[in-house]
Symmetry: C2
Subunit: 206 residues, 2 copies
């Protein structure tokens, strides 16, 4: 799985092309030919590295998830001591990612692909869920720690709230795409932050 190679091989170029093109045009509308062209690679190379287009899609979800994990691991908010500060910092970081980039750049590959393929390709669907769930679980760690510290008796479920952060972000992307306006995504994520603040603020008062 974890293939560490120094030179940018055709495989990696194809994965990068997939991440870009699928977010722009969707999965079905992204042809193998356009993938190859974008990666500067021939069709022979494509089918040398991937048995099928669907196999590339699954590899791309792993590629995407690993890249995302690195991005968030390096972010500033991890340095905060209080897990609640980390959690709010995470949301602010997501706001930051949205600002100053175009829609295809900042939206999520997994959310885009799973909308298209959840019925027709269980393998792709599961691969997408794995990536989303992995990231939600990372957020869930912060939530669990913050809850233990600030709201140990609150009734809401930790795992669900982690998934909810991702649901809001995915939904924010859908609406932002519809309006063709990234700032709408930011507006939605601000509501998420207020929700988290209310959840903990409310708990503190108990």
């Amino acid at each position: 799985m974890t293939q560490t190679q120094t030179r940018p091989t055709a495989r990696e170029k194809l994965l990068a092309a997939a991440v870009q093109l699928v977010r722009e045009k969707g999965y079905d509308a992204t042809s193998v030919d356009s993938l190859c062209e974008n990666a500067g690679v021939t069709k022979g190379a494509f089918f040398h590295h991937f048995k099928s287009k669907d196999e590339l899609a699954i590899a791309a979800t792993q590629f995407w998830t690993e890249n995302a994990a690195q991005l968030f691991a390096k972010a500033e908010y991890n340095k905060f001591e209080d897990p609640l500060d980390q959690l709010i910092g995470y949301v602010d970081f997501r706001l930051q990612l949205v600002h100053g980039s175009t829609l295809p750049e900042c939206t999520c590959l997994l959310g885009t692909m799973v909308q298209e393929k959840f019925e027709t390709s269980p393998a792709i669907r599961d691969a997408c869920y794995e990536g989303i769930h992995f990231h939600a679980a990372e957020v869930g760690k912060m939530i669990a720690a913050a809850k233990a510290l600030h709201a140990p008796h609150a009734s809401w479920n930790v795992e669900n709230l982690g998934l909810y952060t991702q649901a809001v972000i995915q939904g924010a992307f859908v609406l932002a795409k519809a309006k063709n306006d990234v700032t709408l995504a930011a507006d939605m994520i601000l509501h998420l932050r207020r929700y988290i603040e209310l959840l903990f603020h409310h708990a503190k008062e108990d």
Copy 2:
């Protein structure tokens, strides 16, 4: 626009087929041929009623939006006197719609299509936004009335909250599709209800 005909014409059968198939397989993966087959109509009929596949898509968004408007207009929650009860009732009604139906049945045509076509077809993108915005504005009316009555001095924006309800619902569908589990969507919508309650509960205390 509003074509009132007694018999189910080929046009209406094609629109119904589009609503079903696009939610199942996505827009690109839904071929004109499969649309015709599902509607029990020939290809000639298709291109008699619609200049192109994209034109059908746009007509389908209007068809969808009108149907949805009727569904929600008939719902019980409209009878409540207090607009806040209406608003919570609306969220509960959405929960009800999710329960006891399969994913392709309960998910949103507009959110599904716009994810795929927002970059490649501005016309479809705008048509989807119009439908979403229309529905969000309906919810916004309840929010505005509830705010005027229960939280006139609260800082949050009415229009944004209306859109936020839709963002959560769209995101809930994305995650539910990924997990292949409708109940996950319900879990997410429950968070939305708690947020609204906190927003108004918090305001009342001021």
